[in-house]
């Protein structure tokens, strides 16, 4: 029990983000190496179904804190409940996804417990009983491995999609431990007045496929061509800083050092030269396809497949080929 691996399950208003359970896979591997168990914890209002689903992805026990005060996602209340759980059970390590929600809760809990944490980890290993956490720094130009010898639990946020999603097995079940913990409304400094749902259909961070555009698109209209390919592939639309700064697409879509870090299986970069700040956000994609008119563009040094040409001709051609081959 004392050296268990705990995983924070992300959700919002009972709606489960598709990748909420992804950390149970690496959690299980770490628990095996530590000779312990992987447990999940869920905070919210009416989260029984989410707790059950955590067993399908490998949790051996699920800890639940429920209450009206936890309705929706409230970072402050969730951090207090997390601090309570981690302080009470003192697992070896607690894993959070390095999303806005996961980072908020992890950071506030670590500070309340009085120690540092490792953020945005891209690799986790148990080495002689010690947990080694690797993260990218300086725009991915360096990888830094850290250990946390003084903190228990060790708190880690993990880059979404850094590890494979575990297989789902609906025959699995286990023990749900309900904890009675509450926060008085008056003890909270913040209140969510409203949630405005994003107009963007597919979240960049969760996407398996991203089609991105840069300065080389030449104008806002270029994104219409990009979007056609993205729609065909069920992909998210991304952009470089140049395209965002030109006002062609929203800041929410920016990939890179001052935008989002993504790890899709396929990243198709159209009219993107490949500045280091952009590469920082996408260089860990499994497969990068670069389309650019300039054969000297640095993106080609990082691309799995490079196509030297005008995206206005290449992208519609790809759409045409996919249409035939995928029977769409």
């Amino acid at each position: 029990m004392a050296n268990d691996v705990w995983v924070y399950i992300e959700h919002k208003d009972g709606g489960i983000a598709p990748l909420s359970f992804e950390l149970l896979g690496i959690g299980k591997t770490m628990a095996n190496d530590l000779g312990s168990n992987v447990c999940a914890f869920v905070i919210g209002e009416n989260v029984g179904d989410i707790a059950k689903e955590a067993f399908f992805y490998g949790a051996s026990k699920v800890f639940v804190v429920e209450g009206e005060v936890f309705k929706g996602f409230r970072s402050e209340a969730y951090a207090k409940a997390t601090t309570f759980l981690l302080d009470k059970y003192k697992p070896e390590v607690a894993l959070f996804r390095a999303t806005t929600q996961g980072t908020d809760v992890a950071a506030a809990s670590a500070a309340q417990l009085g120690f540092g944490l490792c953020t945005d980890s891209i690799d986790l290993k148990v080495d002689g009983g010690q947990i080694k956490m690797t993260r990218a720094a300086f725009g991915g130009n360096y990888s830094v491995t850290v250990v946390n010898e003084k903190a228990k639990p060790q708190i880690v946020t993990v880059r979404p999609k850094a590890f494979a999603m575990p297989e789902k097995d609906t025959s699995k079940s286990g023990e749900v431990v309900k904890e009675s913990f509450s926060v008085a409304e008056g003890d909270l400094n913040t209140k969510v007045l409203e949630f405005i749902k994003s107009a963007v259909a597919i979240n960049l961070v969760e996407a398996d496929i991203i089609v991105s555009g840069g300065r080389g698109l030449g104008s806002e209209d270029g994104f219409k061509i990009i979007k056609e390919l993205a729609d065909m592939l069920g992909a998210a639309v991304g952009a470089s800083r140049a395209a965002v700064d030109s006002g062609w697409i929203s800041q929410e879509q920016q990939v890179g050092q001052t935008g989002k870090t993504v790890k899709p299986k396929i990243y198709i970069a159209c009219g993107i030269s490949g500045a280091i700040q952009h590469l920082a956000g996408m260089r860990t994609a499994d497969c990068i396809v670069a389309i650019n008119k300039d054969p000297e563009a640095p993106i080609f040094k990082n691309a799995t497949y490079g196509i030297v040409g005008d995206y206005k001709q290449v992208v519609p051609k790809l759409v045409e080929k996919f249409k035939i081959k995928l029977n769409k």
Partner: protein, 265 residues
């Protein structure tokens, strides 16, 4: 209103980074530095807030002497006061150590209503120091803020928009609050020549661990719980394949290769 803004000097994003590998720390003295790009948005938001609500802005930075450059830039942008938080004991602080020192600085300034900071730095990129400061001080944590809708200084309230997964949250919070801002919240202004000249002459006050009442054993390399054990240059991506030939053939090849990955459904 008393506004505090936390700023950090970071290596120029174009600069070559050098590490002191045995110590696991960055060799900051040999690198061109700039104000962390996210902190420029924090500074601008502080200036806009002062324009709308009066008050004073105090900018603080934790760092070695070179951090004076970013504080001078803040002075040139007309912030009212600056302090550099510096002590040999602060070197090598992890996120909690850094947040503890900044929190001590904010407490020493006293009576702050709003503390602005950037979402993250472009060097360490941990993105948690703002949330940790809020947690340490018990102030309202407002992270990923994309817009300030309203500040009610008399009733000590603020309403902001913050971008989280799946959309935007409108949050009302009590002041004091830590507001960490994202790119796009504003267009940072540039200092004018007169401001730069004036700022160049100002002596920048320093606060050390003793001034701040910070326990040296709890910050820096000594106090940090996380320790760097290895720094490596990630292997370069394998040399890619440039697909040459007629567009028809190239499109055929690449679509086949992508379909073979079994990711496209």
């Amino acid at each position: 209103m008393k506004i505090v803004v936390c700023i950090k000097q970071v290596p120029d994003t174009e600069a070559e980074i050098k590490w002191d590998i045995p110590k696991g720390v960055l060799k900051r003295d040999s690198i061109d530095t700039i104000t962390n790009p996210f902190d420029e948005f924090a500074l601008e938001e502080a200036l806009l807030t002062r324009e709308n609500h009066d008050g004073d802005i105090v900018a603080i930075s934790m760092g070695p002497e070179k951090a004076n450059d970013v504080l001078r830039n803040a002075l040139a942008l007309t912030v009212n006061e600056v302090y550099r938080l510096t002590d040999d004991a602060f070197a090598g602080s992890d996120t909690f150590g850094t947040a503890s020192v900044l929190a001590a600085g904010i407490k020493k300034i006293g009576d702050a209503d709003i503390i602005f900071c950037g979402k993250q730095s472009t060097d360490g990129s941990t993105g948690v120091v703002g949330a940790e400061i809020a947690s340490i001080l018990g102030y309202s944590p407002l992270t990923y803020v994309s817009k300030i809708r309203q500040i009610d200084a008399a009733n000590k309230k603020i309403i902001v928009e913050r971008v989280i997964e799946g959309g935007t949250e409108v949050v009302e919070a009590k002041l004091p609050a830590i507001v960490s801002v994202i790119k796009g919240i504003n267009e940072p202004r540039l200092p004018n020549l007169m401001g730069i000249r004036k700022a160049a002459k100002v002596a920048i006050p320093e606060w050390n661990a003793g001034d701040l009442g910070v326990d040296k054993g709890k910050v820096g390399t000594a106090g940090s719980s996380t320790k760097v054990v290895e720094i490596a240059v990630p292997p370069p991506r394998g040399a890619g394949e440039i697909l040459k030939g007629e567009i028809e053939d190239v499109a055929n090849i690449v679509t086949d290769k992508l379909i073979d990955m079994k990711v496209i459904k």
